[in-house]
C-alpha cells in the first residue's frame, strides 16, 4: 500500500464545492481516499492546493505538431536542455519535443492534456507521440469536419450510418470525441477555396457547414459521447467572423443532452471573435460572443489566449494557415489528407506594437472576463497557436489582476484603447475561478470523472503551488502569482510526487483515454461503403487502417450507451 497525506493545504476543489478550506488530502494507491493509516506526510502548511491541471485543447502530438518541429529547427534550438539522471533531453519553445511537452506541463502542475486534432489516416502517428509524452494522461479528438463519409451521409440524410461511421472511426483511431474544423470549408480548400457562411455549399458534396454541424451534434448525442462536438468555426482568423461564430453557437440552443453536458464546444474562441471588415478596421467583438455565451447555457468555449512573442501556428484548417502565411511571408507547410482532413503550419510573431495583435491579445482576456460562468470558459492558449503552453502562468496573473492588465496596456499599441474593451473591464478572477478554468471546467466538459477534482475516488492528481492564498493579494502580488504557477511546489500524479520545487523528480507514463461507442450491427451498416471507398479512393487498405492498443500506454476505454433506433449497446 502506497499512502500519502497532504496536510494543512488551502484547498480549492470547485467540483466538490470546496473553496479556500484548510483540509487534508489522503491518497492511497493512486486514488483520493477518505483516510489513510500509515502514510508519508507532506505538510504544505497553508500553501495553495488544486486538483491536477487539465488542458482541454493543446496541440502536442501527431503529424501537424511534428511538421511544426520539422520546419522550425530555430525554435527547437531555443530551449535545449540536457538530459539528467532521470529526464531525457528537451528541445523547443513553441514546438517542443515529446519529453519537453510532458515535463513542462508537469512542472506547471498539469496532469491531463487533450490533443485536439487527430487526422484518422495518421492516427498511429498521433498515438506514437502520445505514448512517448511522459508525465501526463492523454486523450485525442478525431477530425470529422470535412470527411467524405460524413459529408456523404449528411447529404443523404443517413444519420444511422453517420453514427455507425463515427463510432467505428473513434474505435479505429482510439479517439475520444468528435473534432470539427472549418466544417465543409476544409474540403473546399483542397481546391484552394473556402466557405463564407454556414449555408455555403461544399464543392461537389452538396452539403453545408450548418448541416454537418447539426448532424454531428445529433450523432454525438446518439452515441452518448462524453464530450460535446468540439468546433473550430468557419472563417476562423478572418476579420468579421464573430457573426458566423454566434450563428454556430445558436445551433446548440435548446439542444438538451442526456448526460447533462453541453452539446457544443467552441474552441479557441479568441480567433473567432473578430469584428471589422478587413485588417484595417479589425476590432474586438468579444462582448458579442460573451453575450451569446452568457445567454446560451448549451455551449462552452475555451479562450485560445494570444501572448506576444514568437510561436508556431498549426491547425487542420489549411486555408487559415495559407492566408496567415500570405500576411507574414514566412515558411508554410500544408498537409491535405485524402478523404478526411487537412492541415497547415506556419510560424508567427505576435508583436505588442502591431494593432491587430494587440486587439487579438485583448479579445482573449475580454472573453474570459466577460463570460460570467467560469465553467463555460476554459483557459487555453490553443498551444502553440496563441502562445506556447509555458505562458499560462502569465495569463493567470493577468486574469487575477486589473493592475497588471493596466500595466500591460500601457506597454502595447494604443489600438487596445480604441478597438477593444479590455481597459474598461474591472473583473479579477479569484482562486476558485482559476481552479475552474484550468481544471474543473475541462474535466467536466470531457466528463473525466476521476479528473479535475479531489473527491473520494478521484485520481490522485494534485498540484500544490508555492503561494499562500490567504497571505497574498493576487491583484497586487501578480508577479508572485505568475512565479508560483510557473513552477509547482509539488505535482502529484497518480499518487506519486513527480515534481518538487519546480523540478521533475520522477518520470511516469500516463494513461490514454478513448471512447468506445459501438452498438449492435454498427459495422454492418457501413461495411459496404467502407470497402467500396477504401478500394477506390483511399491509398491505404482498410485492413491496414487505424490503431490498435499496441500504440497506447495504459489504454483506458470509456464505454458509452448509444441509443440508435432499436439498436443497443453491445454487451
Amino acid at each position: 500500500m502506497n499512502e500519502l497525506i497532504i496536510k494543512n493545504g488551502i484547498v480549492f476543489d470547485p467540483l466538490n464545492n470546496i473553496k479556500d478550506e484548510k483540509k487534508d488530502i489522503c491518497i492511497r494507491d493512486g486514488k483520493i481516499v477518505d483516510d489513510v493509516k500509515n502514510p508519508k506526510i507532506l505538510d504544505v502548511n497553508g500553501l495553495l492546493v488544486f486538483p491536477g491541471g487539465v488542458d482541454g485543447h493543446s496541440h502536442i502530438a501527431g503529424a501537424k505538431v511534428n511538421s511544426g518541429r520539422l520546419i522550425r529547427p530555430e525554435d527547437g534550438r531555443r530551449s535545449l536542455k540536457p538530459k539528467t539522471s532521470i529526464t531525457m533531453p528537451s528541445s523547443g519553445y513553441s514546438v517542443k519535443n515529446v519529453f519537453s511537452e510532458g515535463y513542462d506541463y508537469s512542472i506547471m502542475g498539469y496532469t491531463t492534456v487533450v490533443e485536439p486534432a487527430m487526422p484518422p489516416l495518421s492516427a498511429i502517428h498521433t498515438h506514437e507521440e502520445l505514448r512517448d509524452i511522459p508525465m501526463l494522461d492523454k486523450l485525442s479528438l478525431t477530425l470529422f469536419g470535412f470527411n467524405w463519409f460524413v459529408m456523404g451521409y449528411v447529404s443523404r440524410g443517413e444519420i444511422d450510418k453517420l453514427a455507425a461511421y463515427v463510432a467505428w472511426m473513434l474505435k479505429r483511431t482510439r479517439g475520444y470525441g468528435i473534432k470539427i474544423v472549418n466544417p465543409g470549408g476544409g474540403e473546399n480548400w483542397k481546391w484552394g477555396k473556402n466557405v463564407d457562411s454556414l449555408d455555403d455549399q461544399v464543392i461537389h458534396f452538396g452539403v453545408t457547414p450548418r448541416e454537418i454541424l447539426n448532424d454531428l451534434m445529433k450523432v454525438n448525442e446518439i452515441l452518448d459521447l462524453p464530450h460535446p462536438i468540439h468546433v473550430h468555426t468557419n472563417k476562423l482568423g478572418q476579420p468579421g467572423n464573430y457573426n458566423i461564430t454566434v450563428d454556430t453557437m445558436k445551433l446548440a440552443s435548446g439542444f438538451e443532452t442526456q448526460r447533462g453536458r453541453e452539446p457544443l464546444h467552441i474552441t479557441h474562441v479568441m480567433f473567432s471573435s473578430y469584428g471589422g471588415e478587413n485588417w484595417k478596421t479589425f476590432d474586438s467583438k468579444a462582448d458579442e460572443i460573451a453575450r451569446e455565451v452568457n445567454s446560451n447555457k448549451f455551449i462552452t468555449v475555451d479562450v485560445g489566449q494570444l501572448m506576444f512573442g514568437d510561436t508556431t501556428t498549426m491547425t487542420a484548417d489549411g486555408y487559415l494557415e495559407f492566408n496567415l502565411q500570405k500576411l507574414t511571408g514566412f515558411k508554410w507547410s500544408n498537409s491535405d489528407t485524402e478523404l478526411e482532413t487537412g492541415g497547415g503550419v506556419t510560424p508567427v510573431i505576435y508583436s505588442p506594437t502591431v494593432p491587430v495583435n494587440v486587439i487579438q491579445w485583448a479579445i482573449g482576456l475580454e472573453a474570459a472576463l466577460l463570460i460570467n460562468d467560469p465553467y463555460q470558459v476554459w483557459l487555453t492558449t490553443d498551444h502553440p497557436n496563441g502562445a506556447p503552453l509555458t505562458r499560462y502562468p502569465e495569463i493567470i496573473s493577468l486574469l487575477m489582476s486589473k493592475e497588471k492588465r493596466e500595466k500591460e496596456i500601457l506597454q502595447v499599441n494604443n489600438a487596445v484603447n480604441k478597438r477593444a474593451i479590455l481597459p474598461s473591464l474591472d473583473r479579477e478572477y479569484e482562486w476558485n475561478e482559476i481552479a475552474i478554468i484550468t481544471r474543473a471546467a475541462q474535466a467536466n466538459s470531457y466528463q473525466l470523472r476521476d479528473k479535475g477534482h479531489l473527491g473520494i475516488g478521484a485520481d490522485a492528481d494534485v498540484t500544490i503551488f508555492d503561494i499562500k492564498p490567504n497571505e497574498i493579494d493576487p491583484s497586487k502580488d501578480y508577479d508572485k502569482v505568475e512565479k508560483a504557477f510557473s513552477a509547482a511546489k509539488y505535482t502529484i500524479k497518480g499518487g506519486e510526487i513527480v515534481v518538487k520545487d519546480g523540478q521533475i523528480v520522477k518520470v511516469v507514463s500516463g494513461k490514454t483515454y478513448w471512447t468506445n461507442a459501438e452498438f449492435d450491427e454498427y459495422y454492418e451498416l457501413i461495411e459496404d461503403d467502407l470497402k467500396d471507398w477504401f478500394a477506390n479512393y483511399y491509398t491505404v487498405n482498410l485492413d491496414n487502417y487505424g490503431v490498435n492498443d499496441v500504440y497506447l500506454t495504459n489504454p483506458c476505454m470509456i464505454r458509452t450507451n448509444p441509443t440508435i433506433g432499436s439498436r443497443v449497446r453491445l454487451a
Binding site: G76, L80, V95, H125, S333, T337
Partner: protein, 429 residues
Amino acid sequence: MIIKNVVCPFCGSLCDDLTVEVEGNEIKNVDNTCKLGYNKIVGYSHGRIEAPLIRDKEGLKEISYDKAIDEAAKILCNARRPLMYGWSSTTCEAIEKGIELAIKIGSLIDQTATVCHGPTTLGIQEEGKPSCTLGEVKNRADLVIYWGCNPFHAHPRHMGRYSTFTKGYFTNKGRKDRKIIVVDVRESDTSKVADIFLKIEPGSDYKIINALTSIIIGNGDILPEEIGGISKDRLEYIAGEMVNANFGIVFFGLGVTMTGVKDKNIGSLSRLVKELNRNTKFSLMPMRGHYNVSGAGNVFTWLTGFPYAIDLSRGYAYYNPGETTANDVLARKEVDAILVVASDPVAHFVNPSIRRLAEIPLIAIEPYTSATTELADLIIPVAISGIEADGTAYRMDEIPIRVKKFIDSKFKSDLEILTDIINRIDRYE
C-alpha cells in the same frame, strides 16, 4: 497460407496490397508487387549472415550472441565521439530505441536522408512543405510533375497506384484526366510517358525554378530568352500549365536534391509551390527511397526536435547539417566508433568517410553481407523488418502503416538487439 494486404518493406511507396503465400515457414509466392519488392521478399533468405561475427587478425570469426552484445556495449561505452547511423530500413520502434541508446551514450546519430533527401529537409526548414497525401494526388491531380526523379525504375508502382495511371474520385478517367510533365537532365522511361518533357541543363534547376516563380508573380518580363537550356516562351507555357491546373503536384528526387545548390533548389521549389497556391491548389512531395526513411525523420523529430544529423554528445540535441552530418564528421576524422543499423554506408558515402570507417571500430547490425559488413569489426545478424519482424513505417507522404511479420526468424529484431545493448550498458554503469 495466403496473407493479404501485406506491406512491402522496400521503397517509400510502401504499397500495402501485397499477397504473400507462405508454406511452413517459407515464402512460396508474392503477388501485386514490383520486381524490387518481389526480390526483397522472395529472396529474403539468401545471403544471410548466420551468426554474430567478430574480426580479429585472421578475419571474421563466429562468437555467441551474448558475447557480441557485450562487445558492442564495450565499443560504444568507450567511444568519445560515437556515431549511430542508418535507420531507414527498420521500424520506428527500433529507431526509437536507437535514439534512446544515442542519448544514453552521448552519440551522434544520423540517418540515410543525409545522403539523399537531407537537402529536402534543409530546404523545407527555410520555406516549409506544402504537401498532401498520395490519395489526394490519386483523387484530384490533373497536373503531375516529376522533377529529377524516375519513378518508373525507383518506385515502380508509384505511377500506377498513386500518381499517373490510377483512377480517383475526381479523376475517374485516370491517365486521361491528368497532364504529366517530366523535368530532367536526360530522357528516362518516365519521361517517355510524359505529355511534356523539359530537358534542362545539369545544375540549372535553381535558375529554372526561380524563373518560373518570377513569371508566376508577374516579374517574367525581365527574364532572358533562354535559361538552363529552356526558352523563355516554353517556361511561360509551363507556368501557364501550372497556374491553370485545378490540383497540381511536383514529385521530386535526387536529381534535384543532390545537384547544383541542392537544398536551395528545394527551398525555391517550395516557394514556387507556395506562390502557385495563390492561383490554384499545388503541392510538392519528395520521392523517398527506403521504405521507412520518412519514419526515421519523424521519430528523430518528435524525440529530439530535429530530423537527422543530431549530436547528443553534450546531453542535449544539437542539430546543424554540414557540421553534424555523418559524412562531415567522418571525413573530419571526428568519429571514433560507429554503429550501423539497417543501411550500407560504405556503398554510399564519399571516399574520405569510407577511409575513416575502415580505421575505427564498426559495428553492423545487418541481415546480409554488404560493403559495410566487409569493413565491420563486429556483425550482429538480425531479423528483417517487414518480413520477420513487425512495427511501424512511414510512407513518403508521412502516412504511418504497420508492417507485418509473416515469417518466424531465429534472429532477433533490430528493436530487440538495441534493447539488449542498452541493458548491457546499464549493467556496466
